[in-house]
Amino acid sequence: MTSNYKLVQWNRHKKVYDIVLLGAVLGYLLTFFIATTIAHPTPRDISIPVVAIRALATLAFILLHIILCIGPLARLTNRPAPLLYNRRHLGVTFFVVAFAHAALATAYYGGFGVRNPMAATLDGYHSFASISGFPFEVLGLLALIIFFVMAATSHDFWLANLSPRLWKSLHMLVYLAYGLVVLHVGFGALQSERSPIFAIALLLGVLTVATLHIVAGLKERRPGRRAAQPTTNWLDVGSIDEIQDNAAKVVCLKDRERIAVFKYDGKVSAVSNVCAHQNGPLGEGRIVNGCITCPWHGYQYLPEKGQSPPPYTETIPTYNVRLEGKRILINPHPNPPGTPVTPAIIEATAL
C-alpha cells in the first residue's frame, strides 16, 4: 500500500520471484542457442544475430502467454496467487525482451544499407492488399508501442495519478496488443517457416488464453453471485450460512456493480468489490488481521470503514447492511469511499 512511493517495495517474495524469473529468461536464451547449434550445425548453420532475434521472439511469445494466463487462473483457484503477486515485474521483463527483439531485428535487417534502419524495416515495398506482402513489422511495432505505455505506467505512481479506472482501461489494451502480436507472428514467422510447430503453438496459445478468460468470466457470472431483485430499497443478497467466516460473497447488481459481503467476528459488512489499487476482486480476498485483504497484492481495508489502516490512505465505497434473521439485506446505493458503516451483528440465535 502506498504511504509514499519507492521504485520497488521489495520483500522476500519479490526477490525470489525476480531471481527465478531472471534465471528462467537466461536459461531459455541459452537453451535456444545450444539447441539451435545442435540442430543446425555448420555449414547449414543459422546466423548468430538471427538466432538471437528468434530466441528473443519466442521467449517474448511465451512470456506474454504466461502473463495473460495467470490472471484468469488466479480467479479459478487461489494457488497461482504467488505468480500473480509480482506480475508487473514479469510484464516489464517481457517488454524488455520484446524490445530487444525489435531493436535487434531492425538493426540487423534494416541496418548496413542506404536507408535509415527504421524506414528500411517499415517501408520495404510492402503490400497491405496481399497476405504474402503484408508488413508484419508494422503490426509488431504497434504492439510494442502499447507494451511500452503499459511498462512505463506500471508503477503505482502512475496508478494513483491516472486513477485506477483509467489505469485499468489503459492496461486492458494488452488484449489489443496481443491480437497485433498474433497477426505479427501469423504474417511474419509463419510465412517464413515451414514446420507446423509454429502454427500449432500459436493456435494453442490463442485457444488457451481465450478458454481461460471465458471460464473465469463464466465463474464470475454464476447464479450464486447474482442478487435477488430489490423489493424495497434493500436487496436480499442471501443467507449468512452461504458465507464462510473471514470470507465474502460477491453480489452482482443489475448495473454490473459488484458488492463484496464479508462475514467476520460475528458481523457482516459490505464494500465495493473493486480494490482501489488495481481494481482487484476484493470479494475473493479474506479478512486478515481484521482487514479485508485483496487477493492480488494484499491491499487492506477496515471492513467497517472502507479505509486502509493508517498510515495508508486508500478508500473504497461502503454499503449499508442489516440482517433479518439469517437473511442479509443491503442498500444498493453506495456510500462515498471511506464512509464508516455500522456492521450488522449476527445474533447468537441466527448462528
Binding site: T36, V50, N78, V114, L122, G124, F136
Partner: protein
Amino acid sequence: MNNQDANAFYVGYLPLPRAHRRALRIYIPTLIACIAVLGVAFAFAQRDPGPGAWDTSRLREWTGRLQALPYPVLIDDTDGSALLVVEQGKHGPRQAAHTSGHARLRGWLLERNGRRMIELDPAEDALRISAPTTTPPPRAPGPVVELVGEILDAKCYLGAMKPGDGKAHKACATLCIQGGIPPMLYVDEPSGHRRHYLIIAPDGLSAADIVLPFIGEPVSIRGRLAKLADLDLLFIDTGAVTRR
C-alpha cells in the same frame, strides 16, 4: 488436504502458506520444464537455412575479366566461372567496378551450391583494372520462359545472412537491392535441384526497379534466358512479375 490448507490465503508480504508452498514446488519446475521444451522444439523446428558460406577468415585474390554490365561480374581466369562482385554491408560495388577490363580483385568469398561472390576489401587497391575496355550490355537471345520462385538479394542468399530468404528477410533483401546488390531468382525444380538466375532489365541494365515490390514473396516471373559464363541470366520486362 486439511481444512486449513483448503482455506489458505496468499498475501505477498506475509509468510507463504504451506499449501501455496507445495503448489509452487509443482508449478515452478513444471513451468520451467515446459518453457525449456518449447525452446528446444522451436530451435529444432527452424527451417534449414541452406549451405551458404561467408569466409571472412581469409582475404583472397582473384584475377579475370571484369564484366561491368548489368552488374559487375568477374570471369575467373583459373576456371572461367563467374563471380558476382559487391562491397561490404548492403552495397553494390564501387564506381570503379563499373568499368570492364582485365582486373585483379581482393576480398572475401561467399559461396552457395557453386555460385560464388566476392565481397571487396574496402581498401582502394582491392580492385585494379589493368586494361579497361568497353563492353556492351548483354542481350537476351534465349527462349521466353515462365518461372516460379522467390526474388532475393544475391549477397544474403549466398551466405551473408542465413537464412537470406523468406518473408522475415524481405525488408533486408529490399534494402540490399536498393543498395546495388544484384537481384537473383531461385527456382526449385521438380527434380529437387535449385537453379539461380540473375535478373536483368530488357536494356541489359539493372532490374532493381522492376523487382523491388516483389522481393521475398512467392512469384511467377516471365522472361528470356541467356548465359554469362556459367551464370544464368533472366531478362524481364516491366510487368513480368506477379505474386502467387
